[in-house]
Amino acid sequence: EAGVTQSPTHLIKTRGQQVTLRCSPISGHTSVYWYQQALGLGLQFLLWYDEGEERNRGNFPPRFSGRQFPNYSSELNVNALELEDSALYLCASSLGGGYTDTQYFGPGTRLTVL
């Protein structure tokens, strides 16, 4: 069974540009989560999508947004990139949005903002 996949693996952008990251969940999983892993800060929760709806978002500015498609894949958009947006962006999926559900992570997209 295929795991969570993310694309691209690496990305280099300059300040002010916009970027779109993509995530395909495990087959049968309806929930998708996005995390930002910046150096020394651990994983910060960004967004949670379930059944096509945004269910929760973390403490990030509105220039971080995303959506979930009918096939449950998801994309994360970041507008007006800033240097501090440089990080590993991780996507995870779970069967549903239950508190006990295990989240399965993809390998991440490394974003570098110059």
Partner: protein
């Protein structure tokens, strides 16, 4: 709000020695607790989780963790480590009383196993 503390940012240990990675969470309400491992250039993989029942939880790769409600801790242990255990380890909590489903992660502990 719930928070997770992993006091040790780095833990060096010799091969075949035991190791304990510490995790404390802030609230004594009923929570669900998870340990994940991240190998270099990879995503996170679940090691084990505590949902209810026995406070000693066994996971993959010989790891185990003990849930201690009075000390709000969930320390991860392995009796004998291998070079291949070198990775970053993250503790996470899911708080059903928060009203919003999300994991709160600690900042991670980098385990370095020395030959």
């Amino acid at each position: 709000a719930q928070s997770v503390t992993q006091l040790d940012s780095q833990v060096p240990v010799f091969e075949e020695a035991p190791v304990e990675l510490r995790c404390n969470y802030s609230s004594s309400v009923s929570v669900y607790l998870f340990w994940y491992v991240q190998y270099p250039n990879q995503g996170l993989q679940l090691l084990l989780k505590y949902l209810s029942g026995s406070t000693l939880v066994k996971g993959i790769n010989g790891f185990e963790a003990e849930f201690n409600k009075s000390q709000t801790s969930f320390h991860l242990r392995k009796p004998s480590v291998h070079i291949s255990d070198t990775a970053e380890y993250f503790c996470a909590v899911s708080d059903p009383t928060s009203g919003t489903y999300k994991y709160i992660f600690g900042t991670g502990t980098r385990l370095k196993v020395l030959a």
